[in-house]
């Protein structure tokens, strides 16, 4: 049975949410792995969770220190071997800093404030292990909760965009980008939280949908049948 690793850095706090969804909602065999204990070549998928302020509230800049950790070197080896790797929120920032995903940086939001609310995102790429069960251009809702989510890159046309904010651009990201995927398609990062939007019970009233569920179902499907 496929196994997914959920990496815990010092200060990570979204890890147990991801474990819950993997184990109880989509029934994937998942393990919480302390970053120092993570080794490549063991797991079939790796999730760098969010909700996190790994290493002291993102000293220096978001994700900069976790990106230089030994665990990140191990994750890079898995990613280069084709293992699906997902970075959520702080995990997305870390994967960009580590060079696993294209992007100059995730800058402090514009306007400059921490944002925590449900937003609508459009699915722009369904040829990834995390998005295969969505429809192209499907619009779903997920919550965001970040202070540094303004995606910036020189040469935005060359990026494989996975998700864009639909309607309002909440943080000033270039081209309203909410998530990107690497050239090969196996590494995805996004600012919204699919682990907090995988169940109806956590979805607020007012027309929102648990838009993260298909991401986890896609992962399960991909681990069993490829993507």
């Amino acid at each position: 049975m496929p196994r997914a690793a959920v990496i815990r850095f010092p200060g990570t706090n979204g890890d147990l949410d991801v474990i819950h969804v993997l184990k109880n909602v989509v029934r994937i065999n998942a393990e919480l792995v302390w970053h120092e204990d993570f080794r490549h070549g063991i797991y079939d998928a790796v999730i760098v969770p969010g909700g996190g302020f790994s290493y002291g509230g993102d000293w220096l800049r978001a994700g900069a220190i976790a990106a230089r950790s030994r665990a990140m070197k191990e994750i890079i080896m898995d990613a280069e071997g084709g293992v699906p790797v997902l970075g959520i929120c702080n995990g997305f920032q870390t994967l960009v800093e580590a060079g696993l995903l294209p992007g100059g940086a995730l800058l402090p939001n514009d306007p400059p404030r921490f944002i925590a609310k449900w937003v609508w995102v459009k699915v722009n790429d369904i040829k990834t292990p995390f998005t295969k069960l969505y429809s192209l251009d499907e619009v779903v809702s997920m919550p965001i909760a970040h202070g540094e989510g303004r995606y910036f890159i020189d040469g935005v046309d060359e990026v494989r965009v996975a998700f864009t904010y639909y309607g309002e651009n909440p943080n000033g990201s270039v081209a309203s980008i909410a998530g990107v995927v690497n050239y090969e398609g196996n590494v995805l990062g996004l600012m919204p939280h699919p682990e907090r939007s995988a169940e109806a019970v956590l979805t607020p009233r007012g027309g929102f949908v648990p838009g993260g569920l298909k991401l986890w179902l896609s992962l399960r499907d991909s681990l069993v049948g490829g993507w």
Binding site: D110, P112, F152, D154, G172
Partner: protein, 90 residues
């Protein structure tokens, strides 16, 4: 005497380049301009870091810190500019 190392404190700042700086803009608009200081054109926000290093002179201390900041990715060259603010004996 030629290879005696002294301690120097190198002051650096990391500032944004070419992308919007909403923190600086907000400080300008909501603190500076609102207080009546009309001659301030722009406020640039950034992060200060000081490095105490061993070097043989000021110039070597500065070039060493510049190398540290580049190679250890203390700043992100795509979006940041590294400023060397000054150097003093530590």
């Amino acid at each position: 005497m030629g290879n005696v190392l002294n301690k120097y404190l190198v002051h650096t700042a990391i500032v944004l380049k070419g992308v919007r700086d909403p923190e600086g803009e907000t400080i300008l608009k909501d603190l500076v301009s609102i207080s009546g200081f009309g001659n301030v054109n722009k406020v640039i926000s950034g992060k200060y870091l000081g490095f105490i290093v061993d070097a043989k002179d000021d110039a070597e201390a500065v070039s060493y810190v510049r190398e540290v900041c580049e190679k250890a990715r203390i700043f992100n060259p795509t979006i940041h500019r590294l400023l060397i603010l000054g150097v003093e004996n530590a």
